[in-house]
């Protein structure tokens, strides 16, 4: 059992991790920038350390400041949350070198999976299906054109070191590829410090479905079900659900087995997610990438399995067995997560501001993981996630009913929010029928 943990993150995920740490009797240390001093996670931690100005590079991405905060408070472990340094193998190695416990997979596993090209090659070797794509990094447009012809149009252009959909673009022909390549390369350099690009065959009617895995301290890798994350805007997730309405029992069995193989191939420890694309037309799937951390949308898995994933992360990091019997995991009911973003509900443009009113929905099957409360200011420095509104129902219909009621009851005044979008989503023919793919949001909000 860990004595203490420093949570190297902010907002809702810091609050969520701190909540479980405190429940387990683990002393929780928060860190905060100038912009976040009055957020709930700071006051809910046992201790809080100011680490720098609002700019992420000088606070939440500043490894030295984080390690100094850990040393100052005598924290025994570091939990990175998601984003920021969560998938930074160097930071994980620095934490370990400082004699602390890293609540996550080994730096080696992070590194192998962090490069999308290496990860694809490794998965292919491990017998996990991958789509046709480049096996070497592409750094110039002439090579991209040649490779795209070999892979076959349409192609998806991505940063090899990327994430969050940043710089990603699809191309149907050579002209489109040239434009998409330039965008991807400039974003890749700016956001990820590497110009390396990956091309992959684009799947037209794809559902984005991922599998939650858990690598136990004894080396076993478990798959805890899937999440459908096809509701996306700008390649970023807006709503997730489990089970996926587009995955049959037979397909689920194959996907979960492949996710276990993926985890075993890198000796994975802790919570991780294997992201796949499911071809809605053929019912086949391909590996997309692996996220070597806790996922934003992990609550839907928690709601149907009754397993606290953060608790398992702490237990695994301490070398302890999980709190549940791996042989008797049986997901029950249906869960949906709606990401409440500080953005307008039509064009999805950022709308930060000071929160004058904040009233969360409550009731049977409703869980809200929020990063803010009334009086807080949502600043432009970080991602727009205000809260995750999660619901659980005995079946999908009940979950949808509860989600609709909860969206209507959520009151936020001050920043812009996408709650009105969620109200539309939950009554759209496609979502209600469960018959949708990654193009759903653009259908609901045509330009």
């Amino acid at each position: 059992m860990l004595e203490s943990v420093l949570v190297a993150n902010r907002g809702e995920i810091a609050r969520r991790v701190i909540r479980t740490a405190r429940r387990m009797g683990i002393r929780a240390v928060a860190v905060y920038s100038d912009a976040d001093a009055d957020l709930p996670y700071v006051s809910e931690a046992d201790q809080a350390v100011h680490i720098g100005p609002a700019q992420p590079a000088r606070s939440y991405l500043d490894a030295a400041a984080l390690l100094a905060a850990a040393a100052k408070t005598g924290a025994a472990a570091v939990h990175p949350g998601y984003g920021f340094l969560a998938e930074n193998a160097d930071f994980a190695a620095q934490v370990i070198a400082a004699g602390l416990i890293w609540v996550g997979p080994s730096p080696d596993a992070i590194e192998q999976m962090g490069d999308k090209i290496r990860a694809r090659n490794l998965m292919e070797k491990a017998g996990v299906p991958v789509s046709p794509g480049t096996r070497e990094p592409v750094t110039d447009v002439a090579t991209a054109v040649l490779e795209a012809e070999r892979v076959g149009y349409p192609v998806m252009v991505k940063a090899a070191a990327g994430g969050g959909g940043i710089g990603m673009g699809a191309a149907a022909d050579e002209a489109g590829l040239r434009a998409a390549f330039e965008t991807a390369r400039s974003r890749a350099e700016r956001f990820f410090g590497s110009p390396e690009i990956l091309l992959e065959r684009f799947v037209a009617h794809a559902r984005h479905v991922e599998v939650q895995i858990l690598g136990l301290a004894d080396g076993r890798v478990l798959a805890l079900g899937e999440r459908d994350c096809s509701v996306q805007r700008r390649h970023q997730k807006v709503a997730e659900e489990t089970p996926s309405p587009g995955v049959s029992a037979a397909l689920r069995e194959r996907m979960l087995a492949a996710a276990v193989q993926a985890g075993e191939a890198v000796g994975y420890r802790g919570a991780g997610t294997v992201e796949c694309l499911v071809d809605a037309d053929s019912g086949s799937f391909v590996f997309l990438e692996m996220n070597t951390r806790l996922q934003v949308e992990h609550p839907v898995t928690e709601l149907v399995t009754g397993i606290d994933l953060v608790e398992q992360q702490f237990r695994i990091a301490a070398g302890d067995p999980p709190s549940f019997d791996p042989a008797s995991v049986s997901p029950a009911g249906h869960a949906i997560e709606l990401r409440v973003y500080a953005e307008d509900p039509v064009r999805f443009l950022p709308g930060p501001g000071t929160i004058t009113e904040w009233e969360e929905p409550a009731g049977a099957g409703v869980r809200v993981d929020a990063g803010y409360e009334a009086g807080n200011t949502v600043t432009p420095f970080y991602d727009p996630l205000l809260a995750k509104l999660c619901v659980h129902g005995a079946d999908r219909e009940q979950a949808l009913d509860r989600a609709r009621a909860a969206v209507a009851a959520f009151r936020i005044t001050g920043p812009k929010t996408n709650l009105a979008f969620h109200a539309d989503l939950l009554t759209s023919t496609e979502f209600v029928a469960g018959d949708y793919d990654t193009s759903l949001v653009s259908k609901l909000r045509p330009k």
Partner: protein, 70 residues
């Protein structure tokens, strides 16, 4: 004289146009960044950039003047 104002709180990531430039409808004046998203601020109409009111690294509030086009 048309004024271009910020639609939201944001950081000025890149100033693309310079004072004195002739700009046309749809040209990018500056690129703002807010909540990990880049937001290009585009010209409506055409004319010369008579005054740029922001520099890279500035924080603009909703409604702040970004540029004046003559």
């Amino acid at each position: 004289m048309p004024e271009v104002r910020a639609e939201m709180v944001a950081n000025v990531w890149k100033v693309v146009a310079a004072e004195g430039d002739h700009v046309d409808d749809g040209d990018t004046l500056v690129i703002l960044e807010s909540m990990k998203m880049e937001i290009p601020v585009l010209v409506e109409g055409s004319g010369a950039v008579t005054k740029l009111h922001v520099a890279e690294g500035d924080v603009v509030q909703e409604g702040d003047l970004i540029a004046t086009i003559g």
